[in-house]
């Protein structure tokens, strides 16, 4: 359950180049919902996603996840929160090209897991979910765009988070792979994950698996 109330974000506060990215955002997202945030680039949807992920802190307002105030957590705790609750899928995949698929997938577990066999087990499970097991020892720069996407999905699932945030997930994919991604969205839903997608791709319009579409414009929810 994500609860956002009166949230504002101003970049470069108290300076001449100050700029308001988000204005009085109020948003409740129920567990296991799939929500699409639509808007043109620069509208503030990425900023909203980053605030939910505790990557940046709001200028004012509150953010609660599972009844826990997370907007003001010190970094160590915010990072821990991110590491436990959030899975991230980026527009540019953001994989480490020189690393193998399985090492990329293991990345979030480095901070939280001590035992190598536990890491190996979770990595294998995640790779199977994302259907990339057959490439596990290949380094990422040999993969196709769709395979990279699946590797990124495995990484987002490996620590079993209950919230998955996607930033323009289909921007770097062709139509065929984009459609595959939408199939995967359904499986997220089946797993009971809360999914928030920031996108301007019309492909997400009127999808059956999407519970809610929010339009954001100039930092405000329409």
């Amino acid at each position: 359950m994500i609860k956002i109330e009166h949230l504002n974000k101003i970049f470069n506060e108290n300076r001449s180049n100050a700029y308001v990215a988000l204005k009085d955002i109020n948003l409740h997202i129920k567990p296991a919902q799939t929500v699409v945030i639509k808007g043109v680039s620069g509208s503030g949807k990425s900023t909203l996603l980053s605030i939910i992920a505790t990557l940046i802190k709001p200028s004012s307002g509150s953010l609660m996840v599972d009844e826990q105030m997370i907007a003001k957590l010190p970094d160590t705790h915010a990072s821990h929160f991110r590491n436990v609750h959030i899975g991230f899928i980026f527009q540019a995949f953001n994989l480490f090209d020189e690393l193998s698929v399985k090492d990329n997938v293991a990345m979030p577990l480095i901070v939280s897991e001590n035992r190598q066999e536990r890491i190996d087990k979770k990595v294998l499970e995640a790779m199977e979910l994302a259907n990339i097991t057959h490439k596990k020892d290949q380094s990422v720069h040999n993969l196709s765009g769709g395979e990279k996407q699946r590797c990124a999905i495995a990484r987002a699932l490996v620590h079993n988070p209950h919230i998955i945030l996607c930033d323009e997930p289909t921007a770097n994919l062709d139509r065929e792979n984009s459609l595959k991604f939408i199939e995967i969205l359904k499986s997220f839903k089946a797993l009971g994950k809360t999914v928030v997608i920031a996108t301007h791709d019309p492909l997400f319009d009127n999808l059956e698996s999407v519970d809610r579409t929010i339009l954001i414009e100039d930092g405000k929810i329409r």
């Binding site: 160590t76 990072s79 980026f90 480490f96 901070v111």
Partner: protein, 392 residues
């Protein structure tokens, strides 16, 4: 927490940033070689000097006249050996002999073959000597440095010395000495005492100086006091004083180098600081991804500190090993000349391998402390990179 994937990733990062690290690694290694070879060398020389000192007598007594050391009467020995605690008292006859062909000074040492010798190595030497054969004609045993110089002018069998009265003394070369502590004895010539007196012009009842052996260290202060009360115009040199003087001499020589290296090190710190302060956009992206995946600032700091530590430590280890090879296997060409000087015979010197824990700690602190200090601020700066970089 640090597991296999972490170290995998760490080494991958180092490999990925190799172009950034390689210059630092090379400079670091050079800096380490520079100062550690000097330190290893001065340490080895000091150990060597102290080792040969330990075989030296506990007291050396010289008669002084008008502030200069003059020959000391042998008869003083009677009174000296009666001091409580003195186990033995011996006269010594030695001096410099000017070798005209090469304008070098040799050290001529007279040995009494039938008495106790002034050092253990001499004792061993005399024990193995065929005395009858040695005394059959005027003979000498020469150090390796002396041999080189005599060979140069084809004095293969014998050499003719001149006494102060310009009389000739032909002395045959009995043997040349393979010196174990060659710093001390490569310019030495050993010969029978009366022959040495003859060549150096020292009378029967005089000696160059007198030496005392006092086995109990706690007695040294008392004995010294008594010696001073016995005679006027004397100089008493205690072994501990020599040891202190050696320690000061070698340590301070190393110290001067250290002061110079501090300047080098400061420059190095600045280079290091600058190099690691350059944060590229791909660096920022890398950190951004890690932060988005749940790495805390502290984790990133740990990763980055480890990254530079591995580079620094491996440069340190490599530098120490290379310096070790330079000093102990190559015998420190160039540097050894600065340290030993050419006051005596120049000769090839082999150093005894000597490294101790204290010296390594010292080198470690001297290099690693500035190294780590220099990377702290750059590491922090990259660790607090805005995680939003990952979203771009």
């Amino acid at each position: 927490m640090p597991n296999k994937v972490f170290f995998n990733f760490l080494f991958l990062l180092i490999f990925r940033h190799r172009s950034k690290h390689i210059a630092i690694f090379i400079i670091s290694t050079l800096v380490v070689i520079l100062f550690s070879s000097v330190m290893l060398l001065s340490h080895a020389i000091e150990q060597d000097a102290q080792a040969s000192l330990s075989a030296q007598p506990d007291f050396i007594i010289q008669k002084m006249h008008a502030g200069r050391a003059v020959e000391t009467p042998v008869e003083w020995l009677d009174e000296l050996s009666e001091i409580e605690g003195v186990s033995s008292a011996l006269p010594r006859v030695y001096g410099s002999y000017f070798y005209t062909p090469n304008a070098e000074y040799f050290t001529l040492v007279g040995i009494d073959l039938f008495d106790r010798q002034i050092s253990e190595s001499l004792e061993r030497l005399v024990k193995d000597l065929d005395v009858k054969d040695f005394l059959a004609q005027p003979s000498m045993i020469i150090g390796s440095g002396v041999k080189t110089h005599l060979d140069k002018f084809y004095y293969k069998e014998h050499y003719t010395f001149r006494t102060p009265a310009r009389e000739k003394r032909e002395v045959s070369i009995y043997d040349s000495l393979l010196s174990e502590t060659n710093i001390v004895s490569s310019d030495m010539i050993l010969m029978e005492e009366s022959l040495a007196r003859d060549i150096l012009g020292v009378d029967e009842e005089l000696s160059t100086d007198l030496v005392l052996y006092v086995p109990n260290e706690l007695e040294h202060d008392n004995v010294k006091e008594k010696i001073i009360l016995l005679f006027n115009n004397i100089r008493v040199i205690e072994k501990e004083e020599l040891s202190t003087a050696y320690a000061q001499m070698f340590n301070y020589k190393g110290g001067l180098f250290l002061l110079l290296y501090m300047v080098v090190l400061m420059t190095f710190i600045l280079i290091l600081y600058q190099r690691y302060s350059m944060i590229s956009s791909s660096d920022k992206k890398e950190i951004g991804i890690l932060r988005a995946l749940g790495w805390s600032v502290n984790m990133v700091i740990r990763l980055k500190i480890m990254e530079s530590l591995i580079v620094g430590l491996s440069a340190f280890v490599l530098g120490i090993l290379l310096a070790y090879g330079y000093v102990f296997y190559l015998d420190a060409p160039l540097l050894s000349e600065i340290f030993l000087g050419n006051a005596n015979l120049s000769n090839k010197i082999t150093f005894n391998h000597s490294v101790d824990f204290g010296l390594l700690t010292l080198l470690f602190l001297f290099f690693m402390a500035p190294y780590i200090s220099a990377v702290l601020i750059p590491v922090w700066r990259i660790a607090i990179t805005d995680p939003l970089e990952a979203m771009k």
